[in-house]
Amino acid sequence: MKKQISVALVGNPNSGKTSLFNKIVGANQKVGNFSGVTVEKYEGTVLHQEYELKIIDLPGTYSLTTYSPEEVVTREYILDGHPDIVVNVVDGTNLERNFYLTTQLIDAQANLLVALNMYDEVEQQGTKIDLEQAEKLLGTHLIPTSAVSGLGTEDLLNHIVELFENKISIKRNKLSFSSLMEGYIEKLVKIISTDEELSTKYHPRWLAIKLLVNDKDVYKTVREYPIWIKVNHILSEALAYTEKKYDSDPELMIKEERHALIRGAIKETVKYPAKRKKNTSEIIDSILINRVTGLPLFIFFMWAMFQLTFSLGETPMNWIEAFFGWLGTTLSQIITEPTTRSIIVDGIISGVGGVVIFLPNIMILFFALSFLEGTGYMARAAFVIDKVMHKVGLHGKSFIPMITGFGCSVPAFMATRTLRNRSDRITTLLIIPFMSCSAKFPVYILVAGTFFGAAHAGNALFGIYMLGVVVALITARLLKTAVFKGESEPFVMELPPYRMPSLKILLLQMWQKASLYLRKAGTIILAASILIWIASNYPKSDEITAEYNQIKSDVLLSTDYNEAEKVDVIHKLEFQESSKQLEHSFVGQLGKLIEPVVAPLGFDWKLGIALVTGIAAKEIVVSTMGTLYSLGDVDEDSHDLRSRLLENPNYNQAVALALMVFVLLYIPCVAASIVFHKEAGAWKWTAFYISYTMTVAWIMAFITYNIGKLFLL
């Protein structure tokens, strides 16, 4: 068993940290979650010399503070997780901002190595860095690296081992602030050092600095200790003095001084080229986000991403559908026992198949999202659309998860992880269901096509989609004013230079996200499919079975039909039987039970049952209606189903519209609900999500039906 070294990778977003991680560990990585939060955890291993390096890629962060779950996780891991080595990945073309984090890591006394990443770009720009001097000033080792060219990766691994074995060391340089601030720091350090427990758990200087900059988490920690009174006294003194004398406060002064220190160090060690050439990113941006073309191009890219997902995904979807169909028929022939056959073919295979069929779409969508994120366009998208989002209390970054919701809610929910602020994330999660997902489309096609005819179906469809968007935006506004008052995230956001992400990494990320989807949706869906199968097949009525067996044997024996006709009639009888059995089952009885609830919306118990089954998956609504009309397995284009619907005197355009509205707004499928719960992380939100969607659906359908009755046929 090799000796292990735990290594934590920390750095700014867009510093190439993840590319470096991927370069070092390759495919030897796995994705999980940090416990209790929806933050992804990327861990990998690499063997070097006699060691096994366990590397964890922490989320990108600009500073060791604690606003977002990502920053909390990073900080806790470094301070409490005690990794053997911390590698700070720094974007060499962006030293001032990146070193801000570096100096904090130094304050935290981490066992630090700095990987000066994107070094190839640094050299390309013509910038010269005096590495030796910089190492002396910072008090840490600097290793030039480039994830793209592979430069320095071997060197970095060597350094990790050497640092672990204490073979190399650099004199730690205490980065001093102004004498005023150092004075307060010293006083605080003295007080903190008197508490043995606290000063062994955390480095006193780190605590002192964080106390002066109003760090909420450190406040909470230190407040538990008896020295808090003395500490608070110093803090108030510092606050009063800095306000009076400098019209400032300790937090501002320390942060400003930190930046000044960094600037000074850079001035001494870095020589920038005389003329900064206009780089490619600037040129691209002047085309992509200028005042005239910015918005149209943005809309075009969103549309293109969408189109790509569904047109490219079509062929593999058909293959999967064919495969599951074949699997179903083959197993039907092999398994003779009717109950087992039904549970496996109708329950498991169609249930799981219904989820897997979306896999091509999901993979393409994730690939597109990774591409947009990796190139840097995602930030531009948020930049362009933020004004609209902000008007309803959202953030520009909410747009892409919302758009994804038009495809499927599951990846859309997962895409909200880019929103670092909790209330923005929850709000976006809650409104994504109103972005009509593609599974609802067959219902619209069926209903609109039947009741509105070719001419008007398109308008009805467009109206429904728009209604969804409007309800989403109103919900966002309501949540902002009533629930999340004044908590929105600042827009402050970096626009990173455009970069071409490596294909290998894009495919890797696509695969990671897709397998997360499969694990989440797949396992639960299996359970849910079986449950729903049971609920739609039991209890069975023996009378109905007996009755139909009698009729069927009569037909077989009768002389009125020839052989071919008999087969046809038996088939029709079996469909009828299925229909009656469905009525008798738990799902059927539930549908009849809720009839008084859906009657004001113009729905009868048949539609009630269909809607109940729609909770499993929205596509099922159409096939359930097929079953109820004794048509066996049909889809939305079925001529027979359409004529049956038209024949029913209780159905008309008003009902049709109300039905579409209800399907648009009511609770999404089980898969989505489960992923929602995982992403939102609290039962109260899931409960709200269920009750809110149902209520809104009911009210809107009610209004639609009653107003529709007055104007439509």
């Binding site: 500073s63 962006n94 001032e96 200028n290 910015g294 659309i385 520009g396 827009f491 626009l495």
Partner: protein, 173 residues
Amino acid sequence: MLMNLSRLTYCTHNQKVKITDIDGGIGAVENIKSFGIVVGDEVLFKSRKNGRGKIVVEYNNNEISLGHELASKILLECSAAPHTTLDQIKVGDIVEVTKMGAKGDVRFRLLDMGLVKGVEIKIIRVAPLGDPIEILINGFNLSLRIDEAKNIEVEVVKINRSRGNGKKRWGMF
């Protein structure tokens, strides 16, 4: 005395200024003329609407309301370097931060990004819908909302004139 260049949008309440030039093409000159204002006139800066909203000036005892973009093309001379807030700055101009006035979460974020006293910023663009704005700071590009920029006090270091120079201009970049 060395005179500093400034823009009408950088003025403060009740400041009396003399117009010395127009930073734009013939279109801008004509547009401004249609309000009755030409180079050499003296106007009194009265008020500005929130963010990059309309600018109200008083000229010949008349109150004139100008759009922000148009007003920013009116150049004047003043004795000291103009001081204003980051949200008012025209695309292309360079400023230095004199005071970080933001509070709360916004302040945390801005400080993390290096927006501190003394740092130099260049305004790169305004988003197509008018908000947010993109700035160049310490070699990287940062975007922030006008609302977030309004609490950052700055001193104008360089006014970059557009390529107009009073002549006919075309093109959108």
